[in-house]
């Protein structure tokens, strides 16, 4: 539930849904996100520039020349967005992943921590129905959850300077996919050949907050023949 709305400077507000980092809380965030996105599209409210969901907050930025914080807050409070049907907006995306040892850089570390062997870790990962909590830091990078508890592990003590594009990593109950080459501290378990982000496409990011994801195992040789649309 929406607990509190506060100002972030003069051209932003944050809608705070509490401390929980779980699907239940995040679904509430995404309901409001969907509602704002629709309202902007249908010109029910003017001046909104960005609406950025995260685990338990929605941040809304606006053009101070068009609308003021008080009006945006009033708009949210006076509309019952709780009726927005959540599932209408979310889609299921299947993401190919190759767990070959060449890509699963941290599998040893995970085996030690989880006391599971390589195959068991892969099986657990493939069996997980993932949910997109949020997208960001860099374009198109999704934060997915929830892994089963037996796969939980911390970040690397020393983050890698370079993680290749397409690398799939896990930390605690989350899973992420690096859409650009970047530094990072997640436990890398595989690689996807799928381009999750392409600015030239109409939908630049394949995933949106609230979508569902299932991984599908592919062989190393399949990576060579994989074609992105």
């Amino acid at each position: 539930m929406l607990k509190k709305i506060s100002n972030i400077g003069d051209c932003g507000i944050t809608c705070d849904f509490g401390d929980g980092v779980d699907k239940k809380t995040n679904k509430e965030v995404i309901k409001l996100f969907n509602f704002i996105q629709e309202s902007v599209k249908n010109k029910k409210i003017k001046g909104i520039l960005n609406y950025t969901p995260s685990y338990n907050k929605l941040i809304i930025n606006f053009d101070l020349g068009e609308v003021k914080s008080g009006e945006v807050i009033e708009f949210i409070k006076s509309n019952d967005y709780s009726k927005t049907v959540f599932s209408e907006k979310s889609k299921l995306v299947e993401i190919p992943i190759c767990y070959d040892e060449e890509f699963a850089l941290d599998i040893k570390r995970l085996e030690e921590k989880t006391k599971l062997n390589f195959n068991e870790i892969v099986k657990e990962h493939l069996n997980t129905d993932f949910f997109v909590y949020m997208i960001g830091f860099v374009p198109g990078q999704p934060f997915l959850g929830d892994l089963k508890k037996n796969l939980y592990h911390d970040r690397l003590d020393t983050p890698r300077v370079k993680i290749n594009k397409g690398s799939v990593g896990i930390v605690e109950k989350f899973c992420t996919i690096y859409t650009f080459e970047s530094p990072g501290g997640w436990n890398i378990i595989g690689k996807t050949p799928l381009d999750l982000f392409n600015i030239k496409k109409r939908e630049a990011s394949m995933l949106s907050p609230g979508d569902l994801v299932k991984f599908k195992s592919v062989k190393k040789k399949d990576l060579l023949t994989f074609k992105n649309e």
């Binding site: 400077g9 003069d10 051209c11 907050k57 101070l64 914080s69 997208i135 859409t179 982000f197």
Partner: protein, 310 residues
Amino acid sequence: MSNHFKILRPGINSTFQDLGRFGLQHLGIAPSGCMDRSLFSLSNKLVGNKVSEGALEFAYQGPLLELVGESAFVAVSGKVNFNIINKNNKIKQGAPNESFILSNGDKIDILSTINSVYGYLSIFGGFKLDETKGSVSTLVRAKIGPNNGDKLKIDEKIFFNTSSADLKTKKFEFDFDSDNTIRVMQGLQFDYFSKKSQEDFFSKEYKVTKLTDRMGMRLDGEKLENVISKNIKSEGITKGSVQTPGDGQPIILLSDHPTIGGYPKIANVITADYDKLVQKIPGSKLKFKLVDLGVAESAFQDYIKKLNFF
């Protein structure tokens, strides 16, 4: 070959920008856009463009460009030292914040910004740029925008639209605000910081360091002590947020900011003072002044009035 500028020297960080790319932050795309909206608007107005037309933004040292083709009606805004070099290699000092005509073979040599960071070059009719998701702003980190999302590079060409119109040169006396006080509102995690640090932040000076670019401005000053938690659950980022990582040295997030982040924020710079902030060069000593929403909103009205006056 149609009219164009040949890039003889690209400058340090020259990119095309407009007012920004919006509605995509939830997909990880930062707004980007011009750093100094006042100067960006000014350069467009001086050549008679609409204020949202894409302009060339440069930082510190700008580009050296040679005009190939018919004449062009241009303006450079900012506190900028630049020369016009004509075909016979005659050098004339350029006048910023004033529109003028460049002829075929003329070179414009933008040597440096003076005691400031950003300046703009606008051309009547606009540069020929492809929009990406409704904007011609460049986000170099994600390779989004014109010029394949990159900074200007040597030997490239910049094409522009030619338009014939009644070209009236315009001039504007632009005053930079030399004052180093930046007004801020309390950040979402203001209470994470000790009472002493809350006081320090509003009374001590914070120096702009060299680790400053379009993404953020790193400051150096009295360490801000976090008494609650050095990390928060990642949340959406707003331009002008002053985040403070574990080392206690604040970073102000600017136009190319990450879209989400997990450091506590002690303050947010108000919109009216953002242009002034981004022009502060490394070594400048900033002082932060706490204001409330009412003050920030009325300061914005004054800011817009000034913008409309150009």
